[in-house]
């Protein structure tokens, strides 16, 4: 098991991820979220490239601050598309294995196998600088799996792959998962990974917003209440009225007492009702808009594109 316990990471003032509680078991787990949501931060925390500001992480009984033990069991293909200068594809993997401590012969064997698995045997002699984006992606993938780790973490592994390479890589993931590995991937497109994932974790703005198998996640998001801020002259009156409504989850006065937050699972109904109240009570409305507009947009973005 890989366990996050109340993990937060701040980059100075900037929030990376906040109060993450998560345990990951064998199979394919996908972290899905838009740019800047905290996927890379979570993965770097798992590998000890970052240290949590708060909370603790445990990977198969090890803490990530013991690289000398952790990386026998863990392989990480990071998002950084950079390489040591002038290195060839083969040397990139072989030197990684030798630094890991394998003797030359074993390192060569493992290198060959890894190159075969990502279909880069031919190109291995060439310098990585001359590779296409997809090839660079695959050579990093090969490095992450070369030492047969039990946990494989892949940050946006499908990025930059053409459909053929993508299909091959996905088949490889399935095979690794069938061999009993932990596979953790990230993507900013849900439908890119939902078919192959055993589990999907949606993150946004550093928080986990939904978690489960793909179908569960989708319905969970649709049920998610929408928060609306109404600025008007008599918010407490409005609050009293609002509570008569069924779909309302929460109504809360703004600190300055000139606005009201309303959480509803049925926004359409709420807007109808609100119009009625405005007419009946002659309410002076300054503004009305969803507070979680971006969250809403993200849901549309993450699930909307699927299947349609």
């Amino acid at each position: 098991m890989i366990v996050f316990e109340n993990v937060s990471k701040f980059y100075g003032e900037i929030l990376g991820v906040n109060r993450i509680n998560l345990s990951i078991s064998r199979g394919i787990t996908s972290l899905v979220g838009p740019n800047g949501s905290g996927k890379t931060t979570l993965m770097n925390l798992m590998c000890g490239l970052l240290r949590p500001t708060q909370g603790s992480i445990n990977v198969l009984g090890l803490t990530p601050d013991q690289p000398e033990k952790l990386f026998h069991k863990l392989g990480y293909c990071s998002q950084f598309d950079s390489f040591p200068k002038g290195i060839t594809g083969r040397d990139f993997i072989q030197s990684f294995l030798e630094i890991s401590g394998y003797v030359r012969k074993e390192a060569i064997n493992l290198t060959n196998r890894a190159l075969e698995r990502v279909n880069l045997v031919e190109a291995a002699k060439r310098k990585v600088e001359s590779y296409s984006k997809g090839m660079r992606q695959r050579i990093r993938l090969a490095q992450a799996i070369a030492h047969n780790p039990e946990v494989i973490i892949l940050d946006e592994p499908l990025n930059g792959l053409d459909p053929m390479a993508r299909a091959e890589v996905i088949a490889l993931f399935r095979q690794l998962s069938a061999e009993g590995m932990y596979l953790i991937l990230s993507s900013h497109i849900l439908h890119e990974v939902d078919m192959m994932s055993d589990r999907v974790v949606l993150i946004n703005n550093g928080y986990i917003v939904a978690d489960g198998d793909t179908r569960g996640v989708r319905s969970e998001m649709q049920e998610h209440p929408l928060q609306i801020l109404i600025r008007c002259d008599r918010p407490s009156l409005l609050a009293a009225k609002v509570f008569e409504q069924e779909d309302i989850v929460e109504a809360r006065l703004h600190k300055d007492r000139r606005g009201l937050f309303v959480k509803t699972v049925n926004p359409d109904n709420f807007y109808l009702f609100f119009n009625k109240v405005v007419l009946e009570e002659n309410l002076q409305v300054e503004s009305i808009h969803p507070v979680d507009d971006d969250l809403d947009a993200i849901y549309q973005y993450l699930i909307g594109s699927e299947g349609s």
Binding site: N44, D65, P67, L70, H72, S95, I99, G101, Y102
Partner: protein, 287 residues
Amino acid sequence: MSSRVEIYSAEQVKGKMPLALWWRQFQAIFRSEIKKIFLSRKSIMLYIFALNPSLLFIMLNIFNDKKKLIDAQFLNRVFSEVYEGLILRVVIFFGCSWIFINLFRAEINEKSLHYYFLTPVRREVLVVAKYFSGLFTASLLFSITTLFCLFLIYLPRGYESSMQYIFDGPGLNHILSYWGISVLGCVGYGSMFLLLGVFFRNPILPATFLYCWELISFLLPPLLKKLTIIHYLQSLTPIKLSEGPYAIVAEPVSAWVAVPSLFLLTAVVLTVACLKVRKMEISYSNE
């Protein structure tokens, strides 16, 4: 998986220090670092820089009058002035700064340091292996500089009299001393600059500070002198130069004290570097 057996050496299973594993890892890192330093295109500048003092001595051979060039005392003076003023304080100092600062800093700038951090290597092993690869390169380069300059000093005297001066006179002692000082300079300055590269995003300012600190060492009280590298190195020079009227003279320490002290200072500096690297995070975007 059979391949995992090789890595978990028997020592590790028994809870002892896996020295054999560390040694293999050390060698692998050493090799890859050496390749990086020697094959990097920027290193050409370093080679040219290291050659500089030799040019000076070639000029000396060409333009000075022949009588002076066989005067051993004159030559020793010239060499020791050039050695301390140029070779040690400029070439070795700045050469080491380039080599050792970049051991970590260049990889952070090129965003490739995380590859080391993603291997099952103790970060202490990484620091030490990187240090020794820098030390190997620097000592090799600056030994060549030093010895070649000495060769140029002896050149005009001819073979016979040079051999006599070396083996029957003080020559050999001079050669070995200067060579040793060059290597020890790399040992001491190397550790300092490695540390600067680990700690500072922009190490130029702290390196300048270090340069000034070493430069004014002759003005420092004896206690603070002990915190400069040059103090130990100067105690080893076979020909003592006057440090000028303002110098605060400290009893020069003997080689038996100077060399171990220098090693001790180096060990302390490297330990601090290890502690820092052990805690280091990778967040390139921030750098």
